[in-house]
């Protein structure tokens, strides 16, 4: 598919041209950067490192009503499907994360809530030309300009964005605003490729994950887990803000006679996650919980779906209040193997 170019000052018009779909872009909401619907009057800036809250919340909201019912009633009113959405400025790691999570929500039995939203989004990515410090996407199979999961990849060429449509969905989107997009020249493509290569060189953190899937379970009784768990607060930051973490709880909630069954993000680092009603807990301490977190990402998920459930976005490292550093953990694991 041919590459296209959009003048930076036309970004607003480009968004306006997509008016049939809801456009989401990274914005400061309160004190947090997250994906939020673009308000027509607002200048959209794609000048940010990455969002604090990953765009997974668009396809897998933190809280989602599955159906409504009435106290004592027998009618179940399923939540209706949502609208078509465009996510603008998604980082390649977060797009890859969606591809990873697709495996889970579509294996064996389809998850209608996730897949409905997933099928209705178009992901317009933005290559990371200045990867932040704790990014390690190349170590886990990605890269600052990885196209996996994206419909379009944008690259910031300075005064314009290069648009590389990657899927029919991406091409359709480009057609909606064809008068704003101009064909890109060979030199633009070459420049983008060069920028991508330079960006990858800027990534300093790395870890070799070869052999982890097979090796991790052999470290079941390793002291590593104790070391990781000792400072751990047992909070949900690393899992909630992980773009591939997908565990959820289901709860019935009542307001007067109106009831809803909803699902919400849950975290394997919470004690209640595995607590049986009898009081027995198969993962009684943070040691077992952290071990599960790492094993799930780098071993169990690989066994089941053939891909690692980590895209190297670095959020868990950046946001952990006690500096539990997944790259550091994996390096220790590698050493111990």
């Amino acid at each position: 598919m041919e590459s296209l170019k959009l003048d930076k000052d036309k970004l607003k018009d480009f968004i306006a041209a997509l008016d049939s779909k809801k456009v989401y872009a990274p914005q400061k909401v309160g004190e947090t950067i997250k994906f939020a619907p673009v308000n027509g009057d607002l200048e959209v800036s794609l000048d940010f490192a990455n969002t604090t809250v990953p765009p997974k919340e668009i396809v897998f909201p933190q809280t989602e009503t599955m159906f409504l019912f009435e106290q004592g009633g027998t009618d179940i009113n399923l939540t209706k499907g949502g609208a078509e959405k465009v996510l603008l400025g998604v980082r390649p790691c977060d797009a890859r994360a969606m591809s990873v999570v697709d495996n889970l929500f579509s294996w064996d039995i389809d998850d209608p809530y996730y897949l409905d939203k997933r099928k209705k989004i178009t992901l317009v990515g933005l290559a990371c030309l200045e990867p932040p410090l704790n990014c390690f996407c190349p170590s886990v199979g990605g890269g600052p300009a990885s196209t996996e999961g994206l419909d379009i990849l944008m690259t910031d060429l300075g005064d314009a964005y290069l648009f590389q449509p990657l899927t029919p969905k991406g091409e359709q989107l480009c057609q909606l605003s064809s008068e704003l997009l101009q064909p890109a020249g060979a030199e633009d493509n070459a420049r983008a490729e060069e920028l991508h290569r330079e960006a990858e060189k800027k990534i300093t953190r790395e870890v070799d994950i070869k052999g982890l899937a097979e090796g991790l379970p052999s470290l079941w009784k390793s002291e590593i887990w104790k070391e990781v768990a000792e400072p751990c607060l047992g909070c949900g930051i690393c899992t909630y803000l992980c773009p591939t973490c997908h565990c959820f709880d289901i709860q019935d909630e009542m307001e007067g006679l109106d009831g809803r069954r909803c699902r919400m993000w849950d975290s394997c680092l919470f004690k209640e996650y595995t607590l049986h009603a009898s009081g027995h807990n198969p993962r009684p301490s943070r040691r077992e919980r952290q071990r599960n977190r790492i094993n799930h990402k780098f071993s169990y998920f690989v066994d089941k779906f053939g891909v690692t459930a980590c895209v190297g976005c670095g959020r868990c490292i950046n946001l952990c209040p006690v500096n539990i550093d997944i790259v550091d953990i994996l390096s220790k694991v590698k050493e111990a193997l």
Binding site: P217, I250, T274, A277, S299
Partner: protein
């Protein structure tokens, strides 16, 4: 979204009969339920060992094993111990009350593969609930199996489930039933002691036999040890696992033991599989 294929949408069912199996704080109640929708009733099929998410709207759902065999009729039976929020609400249900059912979930005991063999079930407490469908299935297809040995124990005689049915078992041809209680009681004619010891007492031969055990984790641990002493091969031993579950369909994440999801890969596992899973008996 297609309503028909939404796996989270439960079917409505009505309690037909309800009775207490045991008394006390953690008492066990059995519900016999029928789906409200005739089509659902007709299309439903399950096998011994499978589970369902049953629940009460406004309270929530719990993963409960189906404690009847499909050979018994078009109804479902659940034996539920009163434990948390949801099971407390289920215990409140009386005939005519509604509950929700999703499923069936998980794998099943390979009762078809076991044809031609003798089956030994070793249960403790509420652990007899998932074993009951095997017993009923074997009874209904009696000529297909070499025999059935039921070993079952509980803390006291009042904690034994399915008492009347167990009495009747003694009259079935080729079926033997061995009961135990943990503590001596006046008038108790059977074994006194723990289930693993009763197993040694009964001393089943491993030849052409399958052993299935279900009960509290500590019991399972010693039953497995004793089955090995009795020379049962890993492949001849089956058990069921339970963990906290929410979705039942391998999405929500919490029920995993190692790389296995109890709700999808289980709840029935052979010891040959489980012995390599470090978290299985946590």
């Amino acid at each position: 979204m297609n309503e028909k294929v939404n796996p989270y949408k439960p079917y409505m069912a009505t309690v037909q009969e309800a009775w207490y199996e045991t008394t006390g704080d953690r008492c066990i109640k059995t519900l016999k339920v029928l789906f409200d929708d005739e089509e659902v009733r007709e299309n439903w099929s399950h096998l011994p060992g499978q589970c369902t998410m049953i629940g009460v709207l406004g309270v929530g759902e719990s993963m409960i094993s189906i404690s009847c065999s499909p050979t018994e009729g078009k109804f479902l039976r659940f034996s539920v111990m009163r434990m948390g929020k949801v099971t407390q609400a289920i215990h409140q249900l009386e005939p005519g009350d509604k509950l929700t059912v999703r499923g069936p979930y998980g794998n099943n005991f390979p009762v078809e593969e076991w044809k031609g063999k003798r089956i030994v079930t070793i249960g403790g407490g509420i652990g007899q609930a998932p074993l009951r469908p095997i017993i009923e299935y074997v009874k209904a297809n009696r000529s297909d199996y070499e025999g059935l040995t039921v070993i079952y124990g509980a803390r006291t005689s009042a904690d034994l489930c399915f008492k009347n049915e167990l009495k009747d078992l003694r009259n079935c041809d080729g079926v033997s039933c061995h009961l135990s209680i943990d503590i001596e009681e006046e008038g108790w004619p059977h074994y006194v002691g723990f289930v693993p010891s009763l197993l040694m007492e009964v001393n089943p031969s491993p030849e052409n036999t399958i052993a299935v055990t279900c009960g509290p984790p500590i019991m399972i641990k010693f039953v497995l040890q004793n089955l090995k002493k009795l020379n049962f091969a890993d492949e001849q031993i089956y058990t069921t696992l339970e963990n906290r579950m929410k979705c039942g369909i391998g999405k929500c994440g919490r029920c995993n033991v190692g790389n296995l999801y109890v709700c999808k890969d289980g709840p029935v596992f052979s010891y040959a599989t489980l012995k390599n899973v470090p978290e299985a008996f946590a």
